[in-house]
């Protein structure tokens, strides 16, 4: 009980002295909340460092990963690599790039697979495995956390 009082007291006092404090606390909490998700929000689309592929906007990234575009805007063959379906990165990537939940992405590919119109990107494993695959082939592109980018790959697009 004493410990609870020691923790609660400063906030109660602060609220009495500053009636607007709860709103400020909430605003601060909302402002810093995304920091806890920074890792999930920091995805980037990468290609091998020696790739000549140009920068991509979100629509171009979506077109390649949804099978609508088979090449980079410059004309070179583009082969997308997914992180494992079900991973946080997979869900975040398709939600941001294509506006679809994982179930909706699966539904889309079910239609394509069962009508002979296409197959989903290859499952490249986790972020480290995807980066390793991409770094070794200039036609591949994948998405990884920005913190993993090093000299073996270059960034084509940032996923907000």
């Amino acid at each position: 009980m004493a410990a609870k009082s020691r923790i609660a007291l400063p906030l109660e006092l602060a609220v009495k002295r500053h009636p607007n404090m709860p709103w400020r606390v909430c605003a601060l909490a909302l402002a810093i909340a995304p920091l806890g998700l920074a890792r999930a929000d920091g995805l980037v689309v990468i290609v091998a460092a020696n790739s000549s592929a140009p920068k991509l906007n979100a629509e171009q990234v979506s077109a390649i990963f949804m099978g609508a575009a088979k090449s980079f805007p410059g004309g070179e063959k583009a082969v997308p690599i997914d992180q494992t379906p079900g991973s946080p990165a997979y869900g975040h990537f398709y939600n941001q790039v294509a506006g679809r939940t994982e179930a909706q992405v699966k539904a889309y590919w079910s239609r394509m697979v069962f009508t002979g119109k296409g197959t989903p990107p290859q499952d490249g494993g986790d972020a480290a495995a995807v980066k390793k695959l991409v770094a070794g082939n200039p036609n591949l592109l994948g998405y990884v956390d920005a913190s993993l980018v090093d000299g073996s790959v270059k960034v084509l697009s940032e996923i907000k």
């Binding site: 088979k70 090449s71 179930a103 699966k106 079910s110």
Partner: protein
């Protein structure tokens, strides 16, 4: 096969097949996938009268294999439930072969049929040549009519999706490319072939009573779809020669249609936003000599919120005066469908339909139908 056995088989396949997928680095690559649905429905009310073999009130929900629910039978799971399995072998970057078996509750007690069997050759990144048996991509949902996870309803509006022939044996040339800086995609396809369906259930059970063969010859069709991920528009036209013969109980054969030239047109426009959905189709069937004309459409609007989707849809079809003296047939349906994505492989759906028979003869009559379906792709 009981309902429990069917559901058990669906779940076992959905769990087991992904582990069977082989992806060798060298040599042919085999892959297996599948889809299925367990659909139970009950007619809550409607027009009371018999039609053909059915004791109505009843509701026809699948025309190809004649799935009809009857009020007198209560809850039924044996009209639309199905299981499909697909196997593919990819020999190299260009050549692959695919076969798909489909087992339907209402087709000879789940006896599998070969709905797809085709070879595919990728000429380049844009052009693909395919040959074999495929479903006809007539309307927007025609070639994935049974992939329940790919649409919001329990089933696409039967008022639009209902013909005796659903597949063709032949070849097609498909084209796909990104345009306008990658923001839009053009998907086009032309196909040619034919299909001979002996004792077609649609003709035999719904219209003639005696075994009736349906043949579509000289099928030539094509569509172009333009989409940007949210908006899509599609235009389709297909023509064929229609033969239809009925083998009567007295041993004689009547020729109902003798190669009548037939043309089907279809346009559709859809919107898939983050929350809002719009579905629309407008189609027309026109046949020379017989003068048969069908006009039919569907229009639906929906809202997605997380794993939930709600959809309200109206659909209608209507024939016109014809040279064979058949009475005008028509139907108008309103549907409310709810979909819940249980996970990436399973969708649970509920749907309530109110359908008015507008035919000028005693056809199936009105119905109110409540349906529940568990649908999967794996």
């Amino acid at each position: 096969m009981s309902k429990r056995q069917h559901l058990t088989l669906l779940m076992a396949c959905s769990l087991a097949l992904p582990t069977l997928t082989m992806a060798q680095d060298d040599g042919p690559k085999f892959s297996f996938s599948g889809f299925g649905q367990l659909t139970v429905a009950k007619v809550l009310g409607g027009t009371q009268r018999p039609y053909m073999e059915w004791n109505c009130p009843c509701a026809i929900q699948n025309w190809e294999y004649v799935g009809v629910y009857e009020k007198s039978k209560g809850w039924q799971a044996d009209q639309e439930s199905l299981l499909g399995l697909q196997g593919s072998v990819r020999l190299n970057d260009r050549f692959s072969a695919t076969a798909q078996l489909l087992s339907r509750a209402n087709n000879k007690s789940y006896r599998p049929t070969l709905d797809w069997a085709y070879a595919s050759y990728a000429i380049n990144d844009e052009w693909t040549l395919q040959a074999g048996r495929k479903r006809i991509p007539l309307y927007y949902y025609s070639d994935f009519l049974y992939i329940g996870t790919a649409y919001p309803w329990v089933r696409p509006a039967p008022d639009v999706y209902g013909w005796p022939i659903y597949a063709y044996d032949g070849a097609n040339l498909a084209y796909s490319t990104a345009v306008l800086g990658g923001r839009w995609t053009v998907d086009a396809n032309v196909w040619a072939g034919g299909f001979n369906f002996k004792n077609a259930p649609y003709d035999t059970r719904i219209y003639y009573g005696d075994p009736t063969d349906e043949k579509w010859r000289n099928i030539f069709g094509g569509y172009v779809t333009l989409s940007n991920g949210e908006l899509s528009g599609r235009v389709m036209v297909m023509s064929f020669n229609n033969d239809q013969r009925t083998h009567k109980a007295d041993g004689t054969t009547s020729i109902n249609m003798d190669g009548y030239k037939t043309t089907i047109w279809g346009i559709s426009a859809n919107y898939d936003g983050r929350h809002f959905i719009v579905r629309s189709e407008l189609n027309k069937f026109s046949q020379q000599v017989s003068g048969f004309t069908y006009n039919y459409f569907l229009l639906g609007g929906g809202y997605k919120l997380g794993d939930w989707t709600a959809m309200y849809t109206i659909s209608r079809y209507r024939t016109a005066e014809n040279n064979l003296g058949f009475a005008i047939e028509g139907r108008r349906t309103r549907s409310l469908a709810i979909r819940y994505d249980l996970n990436k492989n399973w969708a649970l759906k509920a749907q309530y339909d109110i359908s008015k028979d507008q035919s000028q003869y005693d056809f199936f009559g009105d119905h109110r139908l409540l349906s529940f379906s568990a649908q999967t792709s794996f």
